[in-house]
């Protein structure tokens, strides 16, 4: 599966268009990570635990999107976008979407 933020893949022709595919996941924070984050909140700086957590979640949202695209018979996702939103206190939604296509 080829993922790209471009509207086309240079040098390849799109033979089939399947439309929008999406993948999302909602993650809550881990208690242990939250305690460390509380300490960090005094000093400021990067919250590595959260960075990892959101990275994993984004990976999962991407995998779900890829699964949807694969089911349709696509082999590439164009114009990929990511979005993050806080849906509830302590929980974040990671969302990935793009256009599923088949290229030569």
């Amino acid at each position: 599966m080829e993922l790209t933020t471009l509207q086309l893949i240079p040098g390849k022709r799109i033979v089939e268009h399947y439309g929008l595919v999406t993948g999302s996941t909602i993650r809550a924070k881990h208690v242990g990570r939250d305690i460390m984050a509380g300490v960090k909140n005094i000093f400021g700086g990067e919250l590595r635990g959260y960075t990892e957590l959101l990275k994993e979640s984004r990976e999962e949202a991407t995998q779900r999107m890829i699964a949807e695209a694969t089911q349709m018979g696509a082999n590439a996702i164009l114009n990929l976008r990511y979005a993050t939103s806080a849906v509830a206190p302590g929980a974040a939604e990671l969302f990935a979407y793009g256009t599923a296509v088949r290229v030569e």
Binding site: E2, L3, T4, T5, L6, Q7, L8, I9, P10, G11, K29, D34, A37, G38, K40, N41, I42, F43, G44, G45, E46, L47, Y50, T51, L54, K55, R58, L80, R81, Y82, A83, T84, S85, A86, P89, G90, A92
Partner: protein, 150 residues
């Protein structure tokens, strides 16, 4: 009891100011060094494709979650009363964005260019000046890594 609260508050403020400033200074130094080292990898936020031959090698992402220190949060709280620019938060977001772009570049060292780079910012966790909530924001930078074929 009121005295103790005040002492705790003031020491947190001082600690936040000192450690926060030190961390910020160190982070900026690291950002500047890495940006200089990775200057050959161009990041192009345009949707239009540049002229030339190149081969896409995949999606590159970089993300960072950053939190503001106690002192800055206090300053921002004061600012909220009178309104205006919150310089303390501006440097925070600037650091987070530059760090995210650097991580994207570092994730794909062999790339010559990153096309259609997007930078997304989102507040995660609560943004209130309460004791419990963790005010932090996530920045993610992503783009298509390509290799030039001259």
């Amino acid at each position: 009891m009121a005295n103790l609260d005040l002492i705790v508050f003031l020491s947190l403020l001082l600690l936040g100011y000192l450690v926060g400033s030190l961390l910020e200074w160190r982070h900026y130094r690291s950002i500047q060094q890495r940006e200089a080292a990775l200057i050959h990898q161009a990041t192009i936020p345009s949707e239009a494709l540049p002229v030339g031959k190149y081969q896409p090698i995949g999606l590159a992402t970089g993300s960072v979650v950053i939190s503001v220190d106690y002192f800055k949060r206090f300053l921002a709280g004061l600012r909220n009363i009178v309104g205006g620019r919150i310089t303390a938060y501006e440097t925070l977001i600037d650091r987070a964005r530059r760090e995210a772009v650097l991580r994207m570049k570092e994730s794909t060292p062999q790339a010559d260019m990153f096309l259609n780079v997007r930078i997304e910012t989102a507040a995660v966790g609560s943004q209130h000046l309460s004791k419990r909530g963790v005010a932090c924001l996530e920045v993610v930078a992503y783009g298509t890594a390509v290799i030039s074929q001259a």
